[in-house]
């Protein structure tokens, strides 16, 4: 009887345990990262006798969690990808909103500005049309500045998100190191039984980490897990967490780098962080945000320089050559933080149509300078030596180095980064708009020949004699002199270039015919320069004369839009893959309440049956006692 009682008791204990596990499962049905647990039962070793082996009841072998390591690894990879795609999509969407938002209005601002030039061309003498133009210039400049500020805010937000993610990674790493310790101690104390809930907690933390960055793991024999990030840099080794931190980029302090404090010293691991949310932040910053700021700056600089130089070729209402319309920052040069010596580098835009909107690194090896494009690492040909007389020139920028440079020094050159932000309309007096051409020409009314003179154009507005009156006189029908100088052979329609202007005389002049080129003083109704300025909108002023301001802006909208579209598609795809991976993990580890209800009934019934065994044992015993008494 004792056997039956013991067998019944073993069942009661085992089924209580199983019921507890089921209850635990039900209680954790909604716990993140929880894996359902199962009670493994085994039959006790039988007791042998001459009559064969008699069963001894049941034992609880272990409580284990149902867990598919392969599925979980897949989920972590999918999480990294989805985290990356998600953060890229979020920020690409923000950049897209800023660039593509009609309210930002770069495109309509450009349009309004050049339309205002057309209106000035329609009535150059009117102060009111000029006032409108000055107003449009100010509006346009502030639109560029607004868009730039909004992009700068995105950059600031990216930096703070990077900082926050790094902080979170560090917290997770610390927790993981602690849990590793707990797990090793726990499984050591209970002869290798798995501490299921601790394991779940650790796995959940690693999965959470995989959302932030790409991670890989190895498991040690005692149950500790080592976690690696980036290119295999250990983040957690058993019970030690290695810390990440953020530092300003050595080349461009406005961007943050991630610093890894490994066992062999600290290194920047930013380029290795290609996955997860953090990887997404870095990617969107380097591949979308910074290029967008540079392109916007390129348009701003293109606008400012082209309009200013057109303005300088014309006369304003006061009869003076036009002064600058816009001011815009010179290229930004950032010395690398590790530079030594006192060398400083100044860059200017020497040829706006050759500007690319790229960033460059200028390096010095002790004798020579080399220039490298940051985006693709390609080297860019440099001419000149870097002095004021012979500056280093490449892709529209001209670089002057002063002070003593030291080998190994490097400078980050961002020709257009500050362009949009710094664009300001410096013109405030409407009379300052140079709508008139600088020179005008006239044929003397008494000329006997039939030759005519063109209206003339300004080739070099800086020529000191530009506005000096010049007389072209025909010494014979085939030669002319300028201001009584040496005779020059005449070709009908040929260019006559003097004092920075160019005119053409066409037709058959008579001897003694004269033509006068003079300053366009009083030419308040002249609109030639205004028409040329209005034409800047569609003229190819950038990309070597192949792209207009509108083209470049359209290109920017297209690029950003395409990137944002791709990012959205990626995010949707990756999030579907991550959901699928989660479903697979859940399929093994998730709690199904119906299943648990069935188990509950099963163990309840088994428990009742085991209890009944004890009742039967009691009854048998009672029967025996009664028989002996009787």
């Amino acid at each position: 009887m004792a056997d039956l009682l013991r067998i019944g008791l073993s069942g009661l204990i085992a089924f209580q345990r199983a019921l507890a596990t089921t209850g635990h499962n039900i209680a954790n049905a909604n716990t993140d990262g929880y894996s359902r647990q199962m009670t493994d039962l085994v039959a006790r070793p039988p007791q042998g006798s001459g009559g064969g082996f008699a069963g001894n009841g049941v034992d609880v072998q272990s409580v284990r969690r149902l867990f598919d390591q392969f599925a979980v690894n897949n989920l972590r990879t999918a999480n990294s990808n989805s985290g990356l795609a998600g953060s890229v999509a979020t920020f690409a969407g923000q950049v897209d909103n800023i660039i593509g938002d009609p309210a930002t209005g770069i495109a309509s601002g450009l349009q309004d500005f050049f339309n205002a030039w057309q209106d000035v061309a329609n009535n150059p003498g009117s102060t009111s049309t000029r006032q409108v133009l000055v107003g449009q210039a100010q509006t346009l400049a502030s639109r560029f500045a607004d868009a730039s500020t909004r992009l700068d805010n995105v950059s600031t937000e990216l930096n703070s998100r990077i900082r926050a993610d790094v902080g979170q990674i560090n917290n997770i790493a610390t927790s993981l190191a602690k849990i590793n310790d707990d797990i090793v101690n726990a499984s050591g104390s209970f002869s290798g039984q798995p501490p299921n809930d601790l394991l779940d907690k650790r796995d959940a933390l690693i999965t959470q980490l995989s959302q932030l960055t790409n991670v890989s793991t190895t498991v040690e024999n005692d149950g500790a897990v080592n976690v690696f990030i980036g290119n295999g840099q250990p983040l957690v080794l058993r019970n030690t967490a290695l810390a990440l931190s953020t530092v300003p980029n050595a080349n461009d302090p406005s961007n943050l780098d991630v610093l890894y404090a490994g066992t062999g010293g600290t290194t920047v691991i930013t380029p290795a962080l290609t996955g997860g949310e953090l990887g997404g932040f870095l990617k969107v910053r380097d591949q979308l945000l910074d290029p967008a700021r540079d392109q916007l700056g390129l348009i701003a600089i293109g606008l400012a320089q082209t309009v200013n130089s057109q303005q300088a070729s014309g006369l304003d209402l006061r009869g003076q050559l036009g002064s600058a319309f816009f001011s815009v920052a010179v290229p930004q040069v950032l010395p690398r933080s590790s530079n030594t010596g006192n060398a400083t580098v100044a860059a200017t835009v020497s040829n706006v149509s050759a500007l690319t909107g790229d960033e460059y690194d200028l390096r010095y090896d002790g004798t020579n300078y080399s220039l490298r494009r940051v985006s693709d690492g390609s080297s860019v040909a440099l001419s000149g030596v870097g002095t004021v007389v012979s500056p280093l020139v490449a892709e529209g920028i001209s670089i002057v180095v002063s002070g003593a440079n030291v080998a190994g020094n490097a400078f980050r050159i961002q020709p257009t980064r500050l362009g949009a932000q710094s664009l300001t309309a410096v013109i405030s007096d409407p009379r300052g708009v140079a709508a008139a051409g600088a020179i005008r020409t006239s044929a003397t009314v008494a000329n006997a020949g039939g030759a005519t003179i063109s209206q003339g154009e300004v080739l070099d507005a800086t020529n000191a004699s530009l506005l000096t009156t010049a007389t072209i006189q025909f010494v014979t029908a085939t030669t002319y002199s300028v201001n009584g100088g040496a005779p020059i052979a005449y070709t009908s329609g040929g260019n006559i270039d003097v004092n920075g202007w160019r005119v053409q005389v066409t037709g058959a002049p008579a001897i003694g015919d004269t033509f006068v080129v003079q300053a366009n003083t009083g030419g308040v109704g002249d609109n030639r320069n205004a028409l040329l300025a209005a034409g800047i909108q569609t003229r190819g002023v950038l990309a070597g004369g192949t792209a207009s301001l509108n083209d470049v802006f359209g290109g920017l909208v297209g690029t950003v839009g395409t990137r944002a579209q791709q990012a959205n598609v990626n995010r949707d795809a990756q999030s579907a893959i991550a959901s699928q991976a989660l479903a697979t993990v859940q399929s093994a580890s998730g709690v199904n309440l119906d299943e648990e209800a069935a188990n509950l009934l099963r163990w309840q019934q088994a428990y009742q049956a085991a209890a009944q065994t004890i009742v039967v044992a009691k009854t048998i015993f009672d029967t025996l006692i009664a028989a002996v008494r009787g």
Partner: protein, 402 residues
């Protein structure tokens, strides 16, 4: 595959979020009337929209430019028409004054009217447009182009001609400068001029002058000297004899033609021995000077037949000059008319571009409401069905039966 309770909920939530996102997008489309509102939704379309919007803005700017040019050319056209009328009246006066029955007194009367005509011409030449800018001063639109000092009229404007952009690659002059309109007029018959010497004592009056062969006339200066009342010789600037001939003198009934080097002209009356007439190449002479010469001739008065002949010759010169002026003004008017036609044509082109761009823009970004609304209904129905299904599956649990 084993389905778990939380997965069921997650899958449903995901589906619900997706459907709601689609619904929000459709709602946004319906409320804005646009197929897409961010470049990310259609990057290629967004760039095309930018281009089309620019094209639209430009074409409306060009139309505005063209309207302004039309106004200004309209002012110029009207002014030139009035100038033509005044010149025509002056021509009538000249024909009247040339009549042999005129006396010094009647000519003085004509001179009074001619003076008024000159006033009108100067006024017309100083016309301003609606914005207060001088029409005929070239670029110097704030400078009064023509000023009278005594008997001379001087031009203070310049020879600039303003162009207005009326199409993407089309500019058009919206004015003509005063020098081109009023000054660059060849005097005489446009090729040569005739003058009678002030010292002439005979009554030779110059008549019809024509160019028979333009290639032969070398733009030189020639003198026709009457060596006797019946003989003349033609000498060039170097005093070399070009030709000579005989002349049958008589009063206005007798008209004789002298021809040499591709030009010919008529002389009537009776030149005296030693009388001389000069041929010179035409030069530009402003029409105010021509009119002033006419007035001077009218005012000069004649006390003998020779004086009368001199007046007739001067008036004859003026008739040639005024014909040139009239033709010149007609030419300028024709150019202005041509430009007005071009403007009309260009306005039509701009309107076409406008319509085309608008239609392209509409195809590109305007929402097909029928499509969008049926999609909206579909999405709403889907959302409702999904919500219902969730509520029902959530109600299912084995625990209900325990």
């Amino acid at each position: 595959m084993r389905v778990t309770t939380s997965l069921l909920r997650d899958v449903w939530l995901q589906a619900l979020t997706d459907t709601q996102a689609q619904l929000a997008r459709t709602q946004n489309q319906v409320s804005t009337g646009l197929k897409f509102s961010r470049p990310a939704e259609n990057p290629v379309g967004a760039v095309q929209v930018l281009d089309l919007q620019r094209a639209l803005s430009e074409s409306s700017q060009y139309s505005r430019n063209a309207d302004l040019a039309t106004n200004r050319l309209g002012v110029e056209e009207t002014t030139l028409a009035s100038v033509g009328d005044v010149l025509q009246r002056l021509r009538e006066l000249a024909v009247e004054a040339n009549n042999a029955t005129q006396t010094n007194e009647t000519r003085a009367g004509i001179a009074t009217e001619a003076r008024q005509a000159l006033d009108s011409l100067v006024q017309l030449a100083n016309t301003k447009d609606g914005s207060g800018n001088y029409v005929f001063s070239g670029f110097s639109t704030q400078t009064q182009p023509f000023t009278r000092t005594g008997t001379t009229v001087t031009y203070a404007g310049d020879q600039g001609q303003r162009q207005i952009q009326i199409g993407a690659s089309r500019t058009l002059a919206d004015s003509d400068n005063g020098a081109a309109v009023f000054q660059a007029i060849a005097n005489g018959n446009g090729v040569f001029t005739l003058q009678s010497a002030a010292t002439n004592t005979g009554t030779g009056v110059l008549g019809q002058r024509t160019v028979t062969d333009p290639t032969q006339y070398d733009r030189g200066t020639y003198a026709i000297n009457f060596t006797s009342p019946t003989t003349y010789e033609v000498r060039d600037a170097a005093n070399a004899l070009v030709t000579s001939g005989t002349f049958a003198p008589g009063q206005s009934t007798s008209v004789q033609t002298i021809a040499f080097r591709g030009i010919q002209f008529e002389i009537s009356g009776a030149p005296a021995t030693g009388d001389s007439f000069q041929v010179a190449a035409s030069r530009n002479q402003d029409l105010f000077t021509s009119v002033q010469n006419f007035i001077t001739a009218l005012d000069s008065g004649a006390s003998n037949p020779a004086g009368q002949a001199s007046i007739n010759n001067q008036i004859g010169n003026f008739l040639a000059d005024v014909d040139q002026s009239i033709n010149h003004v007609i030419d300028v008017r024709a150019q202005v008319g041509g430009r007005l036609n071009t403007l009309d044509a260009q306005k039509n082109i701009n309107a076409d571009v406008d319509i085309q761009s608008k239609s392209l823009l509409s195809d590109l970004q305007d929402l097909d409401y029928a499509d969008a609304l049926s999609r909206l209904n579909l999405q709403l129905t889907g959302l409702q069905a999904s919500e219902k299904a969730f509520a029902q599956t959530q109600g299912l649990s084995l625990f209900n039966y325990i």
